[in-house]
């Protein structure tokens, strides 16, 4: 693994294709065009292939492997969209049955292969991790040598280097080559080229910084992926939701009791079907189209560390809408769902089953369904007690009356009515469209005469501490992408050799612009524009592949 010494005296690392300093091809082969990728320098991964560490390093450094990882990620991603992911199937449906019932055998297979949670599967994450590792190692592996090569490049290049550039010409008809070169240097400086001179030869260069574009965007991507990785830690990313009724104040989950939010008002607004602008559009969609979902919310902050104690302080009020969350201290509250007209209160009136209910007109009471009072007493001596209450009535496993949950979707009461002076009450079972006496020969009946409802709003609670990292990564990525795509590294070498003028040019992309610059130079001076050697080749034999050596790993080592 010794270094390779070029005839110009420069010591090149093993595996170098073109001398870093003068550009002489160090490996004699046919007269094909020079491989200018990475300036012909030795990529580090190609140099040593001994230990296991080097093997792993080389694996991830290879563009071939990188592209394979990209392609595999691409294919895997597309497979995940064949059927919906588990998170998109209707809630409450067990995935094990849903996929078979909806999509048949294919769906069953999709489920059994675990594709219903593809994007959080270990192997998909492994692919993305592989992509990240590949990005890091490939960038390190290429950046350093490229930097060296561009830094150490000499103005006067070896004839072998010149001859093998895609744009090249030898002109022996120019009368005063050195004068022309001087003139060319002025012309190119005007065109914003950076011109270096050495022994009367020039190297004109423009847009070198675009060569760093790929590395900059890779750094951006790496930062972005680090952000995405951190998001997997619970401390960095919080995802929760709360339901808040109008008028109710609820703790914002995840804030450790520090913040609570009150729903002052919830509103759903529809587009006016008579609106001239949208009349036809609304007719087509057939139903009402929602214009706004909005929760007017007030945020409170709790002062004490002990839960249930301390003072509250109003922090802010905000109209939370879709696309307009409420934000505080890294948390955001989003409008995500709602429930209209949830039952909130019933009003009951007492009446006699057989009779004119005289004297019972004032026995009316409102029962709050979220937290009913246990007992209701009246001036005329009547008393109603709640014997039991089931907000969402059901019979439990033991066959006893019970409730499904706390939400008053199907409220039922067992009332006990005490007539004045009586110690024994009458029990009756009351609910929506239901009113039955539990014992026979009841004298009284409670009739529901009114009810109230509330809107309930669902707010998603999010805190994503990785956002700044992701934003930084995104910005760097875009800067690098633009830098590498919209600017191009162009170089012109013009030298005088034995009275002849040698002209060569190279662009990392956009040869068209370089050719135009050469044409301009030819107009302004007597230096002729170089020929495109690939065009000449094209005429003799048409190649499908273009002209460069295609092998990434192989062509420079032996």
């Amino acid at each position: 693994m010794s270094k390779v010494k070029c005839e110009c005296g420069h010591l090149n690392p093993y595996g170098t294709y073109l001398c870093e300093s003068c550009g002489k091809p160090l490996k004699e082969d046919d007269n094909s065009l020079a491989n200018m990728r990475y300036e012909g320098v030795a990529r580090r991964s190609q140099t040593y292939k001994k230990s296991i560490v080097d093997k792993i390093w080389n694996f991830f450094s290879s563009v071939k492997v990188g592209v394979w990882i990209i392609v595999l990620t691409l294919i895997a991603s597309s497979i995940g969209t064949i059927f919906p992911q588990e998170m998109f199937i209707p809630p409450g449906q067990p995935a094990s049955v849903y996929y078979y019932e909806e999509y048949g055998t294919m769906g069953q297979l999709f489920y059994q292969l675990g594709f219903h949670n593809l994007y959080s599967s270990w192997w998909y994450m492994l692919l993305v991790a592989g992509l990240g590792v590949s990005l890091i190692i490939a960038s390190i592996d290429r950046f350093v040598p490229l930097y060296r090569a561009l830094k150490t490049q000499r103005v006067t290049r070896h004839p072998g280097f010149m001859k093998r550039q895609r744009l090249f010409k030898k002109a022996d008809t120019v009368t005063e080559p050195s004068e022309e070169i001087k003139k060319a240097s002025e012309v190119l400086k005007e065109r914003k080229y950076n011109v270096r001179e050495e022994n009367g030869n020039i190297l004109a260069e423009k847009g070198r910084f675009s060569r760093w574009g790929p590395y900059v965007n890779h750094v951006g991507l790496i930062i972005f992926l680090i952000g995405a990785m951190l998001r997997l830690f619970p401390e960095m990313y919080l995802e929760d939701h709360i339901w808040v009724r109008e008028g109710q104040e609820v703790e914002v989950r995840g804030t450790g009791g520090e913040y609570s939010v009150r729903n002052d008002d919830f509103l759903v607004e529809f587009y006016d079907p008579e609106d001239e602008r949208f009349r036809e559009g609304l007719e087509r969609s057939g139903g009402d189209v929602v214009k706004t979902y909005q929760t007017t919310a007030t945020l409170f902050k709790q002062s004490s560390e002990t839960i249930g104690a301390g003072e509250k302080e109003e922090v802010q009020q905000h109209r939370i809408r879709v696309n307009d969350p409420m934000s505080f201290e890294g948390f955001s509250l989003y409008q995500v769902d709602y429930k209209l007209n949830e039952l909130a209160a019933f009003t009951f009136a007492l009446e006699e089953i057989d009779g004119d209910s005289e004297g019972l007109e004032d026995v009316r009471f409102e029962v709050n369904l979220y937290d009913p009072e246990p007992s209701y007493e009246f001036d005329n001596g009547y008393r109603v007690e709640i014997y039991d209450y089931f907000p969402n009535f059901t019979f439990n496993d033991d066959g006893e009356p019970s409730t499904l949950n706390r939400i008053p979707d199907n409220p039922r009461f067992i009332f006990e009515v005490f007539a004045p002076g009586e110690d024994d009450g009458e029990l009756s079972f009351v609910g929506i469209q239901l009113n039955e006496a539990i014992e026979e020969d009841n004298q009284y009946r409670l009739r529901m005469v009114d009810f109230e409802t509330n809107h309930v709003s669902a707010l998603a609670v999010r805190r994503d501490r990785t956002l700044p990292i992701l934003i930084l990564g995104g910005i760097i990525f875009m800067v690098g992408l633009v830098q590498g795509s919209y600017w191009h590294h162009r170089r012109m070498w013009i030298q005088e050799r034995d009275g002849e003028l040698w002209i060569a040019g190279h662009a990392n992309k956009n040869w068209n612009a370089l050719k135009k610059d050469f044409d301009y130079l030819a107009e302004q001076t007597n230096i002729p524009a170089p020929n495109d050697q690939t065009d000449e080749q094209d005429e003799s034999e048409r190649t499908d592949e273009g002209v460069r050596e295609a092998d990434d790993n192989g062509s420079t080592k032996q």
Binding site: Y48, W122, M229, L232, V250, I307, G308, D371, I386, D388
Partner: protein, 176 residues
């Protein structure tokens, strides 16, 4: 030169492997509760069904069997039966049972407790503040808090009589 390169490469690969490995372990390991074994139990002060204040901080020196329940939770009812039976025995040994109902209406809870003659301390966690602080998402949920105020275990789901007894034994001060 060659050696230095090997060291640099190895170092980079090791750093990458550790970072990815750590992430994977965290992500794929069993979900840890917001408050779990080893954590300091968050303090709370609630009014119980008899109008007395239950302040966790004041229970230091005793083991606390903190159980979250609801009237509609079948396993909670089973557990309640075991607790009723052993409540007195363990109170003498210095173990306090504190049951927190998850925000049901007072009438419901009071009637339920009366009907089942529940003797130990019960309070309603209005607004789910304590449940949220302890990260309780499913019922029944139990936190075993030792005499120092540290959580020694977090138990989710139904438990047998035997398991409830073992849990209570763990809580007896000085039992470790």
């Amino acid at each position: 030169m060659k050696k230095r390169r090997l060291i640099i490469r190895s170092a980079i690969l090791v750093v990458l492997a550790i970072a990815l490995g750590y992430t994977a372990v965290t992500y794929f390991s069993e979900e840890r509760g917001l408050v779990d074994a080893g954590d300091q139990a968050p303090d709370f002060a609630l009014e119980d069904m008899n109008g007395n204040t239950v302040h966790l901080d004041e229970l230091k020196g005793k083991g606390v069997y903190l159980t979250f329940w609801a009237t509609y939770c079948t396993y909670c009812r089973q557990k309640m039966e075991y607790l009723k039976e052993y409540h007195e025995e363990y109170q003498e040994k210095g173990v306090e049972i504190v049951a927190l109902n998850v925000d049901e209406s007072t009438v419901q809870v009071q009637r339920f407790l009366d009907r089942h003659n529940v003797p130990y301390t019960n309070a309603i966690d209005r607004g789910m503040k304590v449940s949220n602080a302890y990260g309780v998402n499913s019922l029944p949920a139990v936190l075993l808090i030792d005499e120092e105020g540290d959580v020694i275990d977090r138990q989710i789901g139904g438990k047998t009589e035997q398991q409830v007894l073992e849990a209570l034994d763990q809580l007896v001060p000085g039992s470790e």
